[in-house]
């Protein structure tokens, strides 16, 4: 229960004089549902980029299941079970969802370099991809070109692509970003329905959603951890109200 799925130790990153991550220590226990909140520019996406390897930290370590992955490339971390979604849709616009997720499944299975084999011959991979899409209510849209899909569906496909890598740890960067309030619930229902073994960290601005789905909240301000704790603790923290809820009125 207390095993740590993902941990960051003393993460530090700066661009010139701008410090975007300052001595960040985070432990994600296996099966956690953590929310990462903070005002705009607090460094939330930067932290995900550091953890997944899109950015290289100036100092600090990242460990996945106890294994140091700081020196590994993003794709190697994915292979070890660390997946992410993107705040801004980063999809295969010209492929349809079935092709996209099948591609991700083939990459995970290590068969994406087979140029001599008809893709349709990989029944298992295709059915696995379709099953992921079906669970995310994308089954009936799976032959439609991605760029023609409604926006909310594209957000779900973001998650489907990450799930196809069979992650142990999943970092969701504002999964419902840009989705109208009424529909964002649907996306978080999907997130809530994910397997209990899966360790989750999600960035979200909507406090109702955060308090509803997170078991633990990390507040990031100015690239550093301001405070963290249970939803009740965070809700009662006057400092959080000031820095976070205060700025929210402006932005």
């Amino acid at each position: 229960m207390n095993a740590v799925a993902l941990s960051a130790r003393g993460l530090h990153k700066s661009f010139g004089s701008l410090v975007v991550a300052r001595d960040i220590d985070i432990d994600l226990p296996v099966g956690a549902r953590y929310a990462l909140i903070g005002p705009n520019g607090a460094g939330k996406t930067t932290l995900i980029n550091l953890m997944t390897g899109l950015l290289t930290p100036n100092a600090g370590q990242i460990a996945l299941g106890g294994e140091d992955v700081t020196a590994l490339k993003p794709q190697a971390r994915v292979k070890r079970g660390l997946a992410r979604t993107f705040q801004i849709n980063t999809l295969f616009a010209g492929l349809n969802p079935l092709e996209s997720v099948t591609l991700a499944v083939c990459e995970r299975r290590g068969i994406a370099d087979r140029f001599w084999q008809n893709i349709a011959g990989n029944k298992d991979a295709i059915e696995e991809a379709y099953e992921i899409l079906r669970k995310l209510k994308l089954g009936d849209a799976c032959y439609q070109t991605t760029r023609e899909l409604p926006y909310g569906r594209q957000r779900l496909l973001e998650i489907a692509l990450a799930l196809a890598t069979k992650p142990k740890v999943l970092l969701l960067d504002e999964p419902a970003a840009g989705v109208p309030h009424e529909e964002s619930g649907e996306i978080f229902e999907v997130v809530a329905g994910l397997s209990d073994d899966l360790t989750l960290l999600f960035i979200e601005h909507d406090m109702h959603v955060v308090f509803r789905f997170a078991t633990h909240i990390i507040v990031l301000v100015g690239g550093a951890i301001f405070t963290q704790g249970s939803p009740a603790e965070i809700a009662a923290d006057p400092g959080v109200r000031e820095v976070y809820l205060g700025t929210r009125k402006h932005g």
Binding site: Q75, T90, G94, W116, Y143
Partner: protein, 331 residues
């Protein structure tokens, strides 16, 4: 959310299978490639040139059309194949198929070596690198006069009859039959590649380079592989040219050849299996006709053709046709 194209009865596997199934129009296309033997017996030399150039364009399509890797130096591999096949026939023997295999192998080795540079760069940098490598190679061939004949061209190529039976004749009957046969076999390979998991990964690289590592893909390894395969196919095309014309000019390595093949692919439709073939056909026939009308100004008409096609049909001739077909079906 149902769409017209996706009846619920189709299983996901069946859907993907249908994508790779032979269409009647494809069968008709390949049958039509046999027509020149009877309809245009005096144009068989041109037909064989078209088949060879089509094969060259097909190789570029794999990297440019499918993986989105822009190259302005693809003639390097065509030229390596041409010189290798020519030199092989001069110093070893003239059996054509083994000559092609050697040409493919040498082009493949050079392609594999350069793929380590290619896979690291994208966009404008990549265009400049491929362009530079192409120029380097051309000058190297020019200065190695003892081996390549330099600007005089490689002379003394002697190719044995194909399969020991078909002599290369003046009319180009054997040349066309031979080039067409090789084109078809390589096309079958390319067609399978496009419909393979690897083909899907290439389209993934083209559609979103940033997402690929996030699904655990090693794009660089994919790019190295497809670049090597494209180099091999370009080498085969070059070898065919050397064998069927029994000469190799320095022009096989020229920038114009690299640029022309990009133009052909864009004309025909990049990222479509038949784009290179149709583009080569339209381009070569247009060039043949235009140069008959105005020998000195035919590039003017090629330029006009390119501008018109690109403006009216952004996805090339095949892209335009398929859009038309879709609209017509919707009615």
């Amino acid at each position: 959310m149902t769409t017209l194209d996706a009846p619920r009865t189709v299983t996901p596997q069946g859907y993907l299978l249908r994508q790779s199934r032979w269409r009647p129009i494809e069968v008709a296309f390949w049958l039509a490639t046999l027509l020149p033997f009877w309809l245009f017996p005096t144009y068989l030399s041109l037909a064989s040139q078209i088949a060879i150039t089509g094969l060259f364009a097909l190789s570029l399509d794999l990297i440019l059309g499918y993986a989105g890797i822009v190259s302005l130096g693809h003639a390097a591999f065509f030229g390596i194949g041409a010189y290798t096949a020519g030199i092989f026939s001069k110093f070893v023997w003239g059996e054509p198929f083994s000559g092609l295999v050697v040409a493919a192998a040498v082009a493949g080795v050079v392609g594999y070596a350069s793929s380590f540079i290619i896979s690291r760069f994208r966009h404008l940098t990549l265009i400049m690198i491929t362009l530079g490598l192409g120029l380097l190679l051309k000058e190297a061939a020019n200065s190695a006069h003892w081996l390549t004949g330099g600007s005089d061209g490689l002379q003394g190529i002697d190719i044995w009859p194909v399969l020991g039976v078909f002599n290369f004749d003046l009319y180009g009957r054997t040349a066309y039959g031979y080039a067409l046969g090789v084109l078809f076999v390589v096309f079958l390979f390319a067609r399978r590649l496009i419909n393979s998991p690897f083909g899907l990964a290439l389209r993934g690289i083209r559609e979103n380079f940033v997402r690929m590592p996030a699904i655990g893909a090693d794009s660089h390894a994919h790019i190295r592989k497809v670049y090597t395969i494209a180099a091999i196919i370009a080498g085969i095309a070059g070898g065919l040219l050397a064998q069927t014309t029994q000469t190799v000019a320095l022009e096989v390595l020229s920038f114009e050849r690299s640029a022309d093949v990009v133009v052909m692919l864009v004309l025909g439709g990049a990222g479509r299996l038949y784009g290179g073939l149709i583009g080569a056909m339209v381009y070569m026939i247009a060039r043949d006709q235009f140069s008959g009308i105005a020998p000195q100004y035919w590039y003017f008409w090629i330029g006009a053709l390119l501008v018109i096609v690109v403006m009216l049909l952004p996805n090339g001739i095949l892209g335009g046709l398929s859009a038309l077909l879709k609209r017509w079906r919707r009615r």
